[in-house]
């Protein structure tokens, strides 16, 4: 990848548009657009609605506005899970729907797909098959998402901290290459906060009513468990699938996260008011109200909002008190093992070793000999499973920094890029910075993230857009001829690892 070298002369205008299409499927939303633009042309939820009509024929709906209204016999299904496409039929349908709206001509326009570093061999094979054979694109390339983020921020070497909906991943990127086996991450991301918010509301005896069920409403304020919202429900004469409700709630949670949550710099601040809560003299200035679709205003004290947001840093705090449903098993950062692509045997040439270590093993080894290079001593794999602490955001970044080769460490620590929609929670960056600075007194920590919300949300797409419009990149496309000649097997091993 000649274009990725950091020493390229800056005065050369490197762009050469070939009208490439960039497709970035994320765990919450999927964005599409033409390469060279500064933001995606279309953003769709990574879900689709499946309507089965009377004859048993399936019809898929993708438009946002359709998905948030109810229909008879509609189910809403996710396309991706953990950043990996799980429903290819739905995915292809959705992508074609978007491409059609954009007026893409596959014979002339190459397609760039962003993929997770943990993408499985099968998925890659499928992607090649779908886009080069089925959809007949003249050329295709799959680029790693952290690489895209690095490009969007103009850094060839950096540490990408992506806080998305399903996953938090921390990926070291060196000269534009993701170090795949050094990736660690947890599922304490956006969906984890959703679940906490849900349980928070359940504790208050509040039921979330989706927008489409509300006919009219009066504004009410929640005071105690007996407070009931005043609204009129819209009645439908057919049964509405549970998945539709869940999908609608997703949007409510998204708004709630955007408006209410904020991190605090220390955990002490959140605990003190907790004790006062019993006295019931809540300071109303500290409260923020969030209005649910049915008109009920839910109060959030600063402490409560902080507690939920801080769980990204200290998942053990919330997991210890009341169990968050779906997150009972503590996750310790070994995301590659969890998602299960490490065992994925692809070909004779591609037999990966298990290289990821759990942080607590790391520490044990460190106790033994603090100077041994982390890489050098990873022959011994986990023998005794110790019940471990769930891994917070700072710990994840710190673990990656500790594992990485010492020569790269200062540079990565100096170029930490925080991206993903969930990272927009106020004070999150500040807290991450402070905690990392305390942990690494001798290194200069610098955290970068773009202030622009659009760029933060779609930095992966933007990076792909930059990459696909570079003149030097056009030699990297995998063309149909190449696909036929070399075959998916070797292509994946040599190009898309």
């Amino acid at each position: 990848m000649a274009s990725s070298s950091s020493t390229a002369a800056p005065q050369v205008y490197g762009a050469d548009e070939v009208n490439a299409v960039v497709l970035d499927p994320g765990s919450f939303s999927t964005s599409v657009g033409y390469a060279g633009y500064d933001c995606p042309s279309m953003v769709f939820p990574s879900h689709y609605g499946e309507v089965v009509d009377g004859k048993g024929e399936k019809k898929r709906l993708f438009n946002d506005s359709f998905l948030h209204t109810s229909r008879e016999n509609m189910k809403i299904k996710p396309i991706l899970k953990n950043n990996i496409i799980i429903d290819w039929d739905g995915a292809v349908d959705q992508y074609n729907y978007m491409f059609k709206q954009m007026g893409v001509n596959p014979e002339d326009q190459p397609l760039m797909l962003t993929e997770s570093t943990m993408n499985s061999y099968k998925n890659k094979e499928k992607a090649l098959e779908v886009f080069l054979e089925q959809e007949n694109y003249c050329a295709f390339y799959a680029v790693k998402q952290p690489t895209c983020v690095a490009f969007a921020h103009g850094k060839a070497t950096c540490l990408v901290v992506d806080i998305g909906h399903d996953l938090i991943t921390v990926t070291p990127v060196v000269d534009g290459f993701c170090l795949r086996n050094q990736v660690i991450g947890t599922n304490y991301a956006g969906a984890f906060l959703d679940q906490q918010l849900k349980q928070f509301l359940e504790d208050k005896n509040i039921d979330i009513v989706p927008q489409y069920r509300v006919k009219s409403k009066n504004t009410m304020y929640w005071e105690n468990k007996e407070s009931k919202p005043q609204f009129e429900t819209k009645h439908y004469d057919y049964k509405i699938d549970n998945s539709v409700d869940e999908f609608s709630k997703l949007r409510v949670f998204q708004e709630m996260k955007e408006t209410v949550l904020s991190c605090s710099l220390d955990d002490q601040a959140e605990k003190v008011p907790d004790a006062d809560k019993d006295k019931m003299d809540v300071d109303y200035d500290e409260q923020r109200y969030f209005e649910l679709p049915n008109g009920l205003n839910v109060p959030f004290t600063d402490a409560e909002a902080n507690k939920i947001a801080n769980s990204l840093f200290r998942p053990s705090d919330v997991l210890g008190n009341g169990i968050v449903k779906g997150w009972e098993e503590p996750h310790i950062g070994n995301i590659i093992e969890t998602i299960g692509t490490a065992d994925d045997k692809s070909s004779k040439l591609y037999v990966p070793l298990r290289r990821t270590k759990r942080p607590e093993e790391e520490e044990k080894e460190k106790d033994k000999d603090s100077n041994v290079d982390a890489k050098a001593s990873n022959g011994a794999d986990g023998s005794g499973k110790v019940k471990s602490e769930p891994c917070g955001l700072t710990k994840l970044v710190q673990t990656v920094l500790e594992r990485i080769d010492i020569d790269w460490k200062p540079q990565l620590a100096n170029n930490i890029i925080v991206t993903g929609s969930t990272s927009l929670i106020p004070e999150l960056n500040k807290r991450l910075y402070e905690e990392l600075s305390i942990l690494n007194p001798s290194m200069k920590i610098r955290i970068q993230s773009v202030g622009n919300t659009v760029e933060r949300k779609y930095s992966t797409w933007i990076g792909g857009s930059i990459l696909a419009s570079l003149g030097t990149f056009h030699q990297l496309w995998v063309s149909q001829a190449e696909y036929k000649e070399i075959g998916a097997d070797r292509l994946i091993v040599n190009r898309f690892r």
Binding site: A2, S3, A8, G14, D16, E17, V18, N19, D108, P110, C138, A139, P172, V174, D175, F177, L179, R180, N181, Q182, Y350, V351, P352, L353, R355, S370, N371, D373, K375, A376, N378, G379, I404, D405, I406, D407, W408, K409, P410, N440, P441, S442, M443, G471, T472, H474, Q475, W477, S479, A481, E482, E485, N494, R497
Partner: protein
């Protein structure tokens, strides 16, 4: 304009013809006049001179690149004709083998773009020149470099190095070589053949061990050594090429590399206290350096002072009185230029009568002393001893001076004491000063002692704490005296505190060091 007229004079063009010429053109220029005047204002310094050379004759054509007079519509039509059209043209990339055709937009019309230029970004498609080898090469040359490496693995390593352009971080991350079963057995056989029979048992034990994952250092070591050997073997006309490169490759030492990383690791894992300590040490060191420099400077200055003035110039010129004063003046200026400690202020000398009696006496004494010292020097001879003896003499003379100074004072004292009781003296404010007193009138409050700024600030702080203001409300003699005493005490206490702090810190440091040992 003067320049233009000068030139016209040189060219013998008289005024009349000039004026005629001007008048002819005047009508035409009236319109342009304002414009040209404006222009001249705008022209820069260099251009103005050039413009002056042009004189009253304006150029017949307007020499400008842009055409402000052109009508807007005309310019539009120009644009249409000049502007080339953009065409979406297919292109092939020479760095691709499959001849993929993509389309991009190119300036110009399609029929004009037929010329086949190579794709502009092809030149960026570079790759590293990593030597290649075959299995035979390996068996012949490279097998003994690292016995635990097989041909297959080395080949794999070279492939990876090529694929990732020697980005070691990436190579080690995706290095996933798994040795075949037969590979290990082959290695066993090989080693058994090579090794002695006694050692073969140990080797078998070793071989039964599983394959240990390679470290970056292992990979680098193998790659560099193999490359260097390969380059060495490639001789052209009996001369080895790339000698510098081979030397660089051979200089890689695996153990040193590991050690370097160890040190680096230790450096990055310092505790904050260690970092703070280090920083403070660095600052201290810098202070020492500065002090040493300053001392050297001062020493050099002193040496210069002690050096006898060099008498390279003939002495004759100093023999006259004017020559002497000149010498004196130059010496004085040299003296002043050297920054010495400012001497105690001396009262302005109005004339011999204006000097107080005591001072005049002291002066006379000093002159006498100097004469004495001079005599002593002459007696002793020896230039080296002169300095030391001079000091001796000074001390003596000072003592004598003090002794003699007290005499006249005590005379006055006696006179006053005979007439006034101490109480009365206090009432009248009569006071005897032990040390020299500045001539002229001053206020007592002006004479309150001050210290170095650092000490002064601390003293003021403490005074503030005590609730005493720096400015005395009633500066009687007694009050001022007490105040002076107080200030001195505070200053000395502050100094003491500083010293004790320093010593305490040292003691704790020593204790800690002992404790650590």
């Amino acid at each position: 304009m003067s320049m233009a007229s000068d030139i016209l004079d040189v060219l013998n063009v008289n005024k009349e013809t000039r004026n005629e010429h001007q008048q002819k053109k005047k009508k035409k220029h009236i319109i342009h006049f304002e414009e040209s005047a404006n222009k001249r204002k705008k022209i820069g310094a260099m251009n103005r001179e050039l413009a002056n050379l042009m004189g009253p004759n304006l150029a017949p054509i307007n020499i400008t690149h842009h055409q402000p007079n052109k009508k807007f519509k005309d310019r539009l039509t120009d644009l249409q004709t000049i502007q080339p059209s953009w065409t979406s043209t297919p292109f092939t990339n020479g760095s691709r083998s499959d001849g993929l055709q993509l389309k991009h937009w190119v300036k110009g019309k399609l029929d004009l773009l037929e010329s086949k230029k190579p794709y502009i970004y092809e030149k960026y498609n570079t790759s590293l020149d990593i030597p290649d080898f075959t299995e035979d090469d390996y068996k012949k040359l490279l097998k003994d470099i690292n016995p635990d490496w097989s041909y297959k693995e080395t080949k794999y390593l070279f492939d990876m190095a090529k694929r990732y352009d020697l980005r070691w971080a990436v190579i080690i991350d995706s290095y996933e070589y798994v040795p075949d079963e037969d590979e290990i057995t082959v290695k066993k056989e090989d080693q058994n053949k090579v090794d002695d029979k006694e050692k073969s048992k140990d080797d078998e034990k070793k071989e039964t061990k599983t394959y240990t994952p390679r470290t970056v250092e292992d990979l680098k070591d193998q790659l560099y050594k193999v490359s260097s050997k390969l380059l060495n073997s490639k001789k052209e006309d009996g001369v080895v090429k790339d000698v510098a490169l081979i030397k660089a490759l051979d200089s890689f030492d695996k153990n040193k590399e590991i050690e370097r990383k160890k040190y680096l690791n230790r450096l990055l894992h310092r505790a904050p206290t260690e970092i703070a300590e280090e920083e403070s040490l660095v600052i201290e060191a810098r202070k020492f350096e500065l002090a040493a420099k300053k001392m050297l400077m001062e020493r050099a200055q002193l040496l210069q002072l002690l050096d006898s003035p060099q008498s390279s110039a003939p002495i004759l010129q100093f023999l006259t009185s004017s020559g002497l004063t000149q010498l004196y003046n130059t010496l004085m200026t040299v003296d002043k230029s050297k920054k010495r400690k400012t001497e105690a202020p001396v009262a302005p000398q109005l004339g011999p009568n204006a000097i107080p009696y005591t001072q005049q006496l002291a002066k006379q004494q000093a002159v006498q002393q100097q004469a004495q010292a001079h005599k002593q020097q002459q007696q002793q001879g020896g230039s080296a001893a002169a300095g030391a003896n001079g000091h001796h003499g000074d001390k003596k003379s000072q003592k004598q001076q003090q002794h003699q100074q007290q005499k006249p004072q005590s005379e006055i004292l006696k006179l006053l004491q005979s007439r006034l009781t101490p109480e009365e003296m206090e009432v009248y404010g009569i006071k005897f000063h032990e040390d020299k007193v500045q001539a002229g009138v001053y206020l007592r409050s002006q004479k309150i002692v001050t210290f170095k700024p650092a000490v002064q600030s601390k003293v003021v702080e403490i005074l503030n704490e005590l609730g005493i203001s720096m400015r005395l409300t009633m500066p009687t003699g007694a009050v001022c005296g007490k105040f002076d005493k107080l200030m001195h005490r505070i200053a000395s206490l502050v100094d003491l505190k500083k010293q004790t702090d320093k010593i305490e810190a040292e003691v704790t440091l020593m204790k800690r060091q002992k404790g650590m040992l």
